[in-house]
């Protein structure tokens, strides 16, 4: 869509605000995400009535109440399933799912992976704060091992999910990661997700200032962020560090590695390809965090084209109707079947 067409609706961020009082804790990262989404929505060029936000349960899942579009605040973990039914039966709509690390990866993990593998046309915003907020501070499926919480006084034993690795394992066609406080980056990833046909999963690192404050400070503090945040731009070398001397390189064994002091023009430096068909490459990128959990590639890991579930389902219906229309005569013939007898 052209910029002119996008602007034609004349919508502003305030048009996407509702009259409902926003009830997240003061200082919650959700406020920044809400503002960024409301600010970005006019760019979509889609009328408000054609946009639907669907959520599950949790702090993030209150989101639809604050968006002046159609919306549904559903039940824990089920938003991707509900959105699948809506999107596949109404391909004309722009359907967004708002979820959290507990909602999407714990109770709703099954629905998430199946939405991803089907490639339903959904934009899934996964607010990851690595803690349970609404139930007041238990560890989540993305909490680090050893996390001391109300339900794990001696430290949690569970190995956490890496949501990006998990999504790529399900062969998601679009996976991105961004940060609540970086509105510019957040908006750029939202834009790329919105332009994608198919399921787009955007992991948004989000600070819970009550139960897990500062979880992402290392990526926000100007003294540390350049050392740990790896910004991915399609077609650009994956270099980072304050002076750009750190880089993601392809080691002799083919694995991705991180090296410091990489010289200019070193051919081992990986040039990011967000459109690589083979999910092994973005998966390897997502595993850089396993070298040191502080390494955080940010941006679009993967964006590839595959037919959407919605479109394929609609095509089957069209194909069937083109062969023989489903009218009253067809229903009458169906009810009769092959073997009938008549009593006069």
């Amino acid at each position: 869509m052209t910029e002119a067409a996008r602007g034609a609706l004349g919508l502003k961020a305030k048009d996407f605000k509702t009259d409902q009082e926003v009830r997240w804790c003061p200082g919650c990262g959700d406020y920044a995400i809400l503002a960024a989404v409301q600010g970005f929505m006019p760019e979509l060029g889609i009328a408000r009535e054609n946009i639907v936000f669907i959520s599950g349960i949790g702090c993030s899942s209150r989101f639809p109440y604050y968006m002046n579009t159609y919306g549904m605040h559903s039940i824990h973990g089920r938003a991707p399933a509900i959105a699948t039914g809506l999107s596949s039966s109404r391909p004309d709509l722009s359907v967004w799912v708002v979820t959290g690390d507990g909602d999407a990866l714990s109770i709703g993990g099954n629905h998430l992976i199946h939405a991803l593998r089907r490639n339903v046309n959904l934009k899934i915003l996964l607010f990851n704060n690595r803690i349970y907020g609404l139930t007041k501070g238990q560890y989540s499926p993305t909490s680090e091992v050893g996390k001391v919480t109300k339900s794990t006084p001696m430290g949690s034993l569970d190995n956490p999910f890496n949501p990006v690795s998990m999504a790529l394992g399900a062969e998601a066609t679009f996976v991105g990661r961004t940060l609540d406080s970086d509105r510019k980056h957040l908006t750029s990833v939202l834009r790329a997700a919105a332009d994608h046909q198919g399921t787009a999963l955007v992991e948004i690192y989000q600070n819970c200032n009550i139960f897990n404050d500062g979880a992402f400070d290392i990526l926000k503090d100007s003294d540390t962020r350049d050392d740990w945040m790896i910004r991915m731009e399609h077609g650009q070398p994956l270099r980072f560090g304050a002076d750009g001397s750190k880089a993601v390189v392809r080691a002799a064994n083919g694995a991705l590695a991180i090296e410091d002091g990489v010289a200019d023009g070193d051919p081992r430096v990986v040039v990011h390809d967000a459109h690589a068909e083979d999910p092994a490459y973005p998966f390897a990128l997502s595993r850089l965090s396993s070298l040191d959990s502080r390494y955080s590639p940010m941006g679009v890991f993967r964006s590839v084209q595959r037919p959407t579930y919605d479109a394929m389902m609609a095509a089957q219906l069209d194909q069937a109707a083109a062969k023989a229309p489903g009218d009253d005569a067809a229903l009458d013939a169906l009810l009769h079947g092959a073997d009938t007898w008549t009593v006069a």
């Binding site: 968006m67 549904m72 509900i82 039914g85 069937a320 109707a321 169906l334 079947g337 009593v343």
Partner: protein, 616 residues
Amino acid sequence: MSKSVEQLDRVVIRIAGDSGDGMQLTGDRFTAETALFGNDLSTLPNFPAEIRAPQGTLAGVSSFQLHFADHDILTPGDRPDVLVAMNPAALKANVGDLPKGATLIVDTHDFTARALGRIGWQSNPLEDGTLEGFVVHAVELTKLTLDALADTQLSRKDAGRSKNMFALGLLSWMYSRPTENTINFVRQKFASKPEIADANITAFRAGWNYGETTEAFAVQYEVKPAPQSTGTYRNISGNLALAYGLIAAARRAQLPMFLGAYPITPASDILHELSKHKRFGIRTFQAEDEIAGIGATLGAAFGGALGVTTSSGPGIALKGEAIGLAVSLELPLIICDIQRGGPSTGLPTKTEQSDLLQAMYGRNGEAPVPIVAPRSPGDCFDTAIEAARIALTYRTPVFLLSDGYLANGSEPWRIPAVADLPDLRVEYTTEPNGPNGEFLPYLRDPETLARPWAVPGTPGLEHRVGGIEKADRTGNISYDPDNHDFMVRTRQAKVDGIARSLAPLEVDDPNADARVLVLGWGSTYGPIGAACRQIRAAGASIAQVHLRHLNPFPNDLGGILARYQKVVIPEMNLGQLALLIRAKYLIDTLSVTQVRGLPFKADELAEMLQGVIEND
């Protein structure tokens, strides 16, 4: 040779064999021939949950029972007049159900010491007097089939598989059934394997000819067509009628249908059937689990589709939370529960009526859901349409409680004209309804208490719904005590109000002098009706009322119950309807229950009811 022809008014046949022997197919074909011939009929398939249980074991026995008659009948019959047993296990598992004098046709092929020993028979029942009192035809069915196919290229193993068709041919001869459709059916079914089609047809004809020529079968039987009211008929199973009813409902509502389902016995055939009919605008979604099945359906209903989810008891348990959400969102949704034996996995392929209380109460909070239940295979069609009417009119999830017996059983069905079906059209809300030009998603219709159905894509009606309690009219989140009390009572009143739309109950009390009333619901209609006929034929009086609506009960039910001295409620559970009736009407009831995975026997019900009448 010429054979004598004996007239019968009704016959009950049971065909039994290994679950891989094609007994269900044989039964289906014999049923189709019988339906075309014009007999009234009722069927009872009975098969194990295992796809291929070990051969020759009691656990692996699959059977199909067919009752056909020259008059109107209501049940698949209590006791078979004829049993076809394809192996020793099939004989052992079924012989106890036969009345003395019944006819037995037994394939002798597997009556070896080893096979007999496997099922605990020390001697051969064909020779040791076990079967005294029955008319036994010991036939080398397998060998005769192999002989008939000796000239083909088929292996012995493949040729032997046609023995069910030999049996079908023999039965078709015995009961003078038309055969042309079966031959056409085989040709179509094996269109890609003509050698298999030929073998089956050869075996089928060999079976017919064997009956015609052998001296062992001296009598051919004739059961005249049953008088039926005018119209065009077909044979139909409950699951097929249910699927067709849903398609018809969507068509009459002029809505696209969305079916979200996860495969489960005995409901899967509805998913299979609906997935074939995409040209009617039907989307079928085989979900990752039961919860996603209903979740996606609810999402589609929010988008304006006629949403349907199909399952059985265990799946309904998983759907409970989402059904509660549907109650809260007040969106139309049809939940088909094809009940089976429970609890837990229970008896997947056997019938039971034990999900009534789950449908009624199986959710957190006060979450009323209307419930309807079909009474016969063909009635599944009309009940599906009624479920759609309620869901669409009142914007509510609706339970349809069928069961395994109705799902797989079949009967002749008079095909309705599409134009005569109820008009189910609904209109989405397209304009703001508030006093200040705003949209109030929970402003209700004063008559039905239904809320507006404003679907995404409608400008100016953007709104949010959710599972948190909503304020009256606006639908905004509300924790206000009085509002919650009001909303809970209003949702209940909406469901209760459906009773005002129901036709008066039919009371079957021919002489209006009965003192005992039998009250039933669902698939017990046939056995109860047959039992009542027996009692009346014996000169006593009894009244029958059968409920299609279980929630809410029809408004005239209380008055009807009060007119009778005794109310007997037979159920295939431990008294779930009886509990509801006692609680609501404060009357005593005689709860008669059975949970054997099989329908009631009409004879046993009649005997029990006779006892109640005599002790009155």
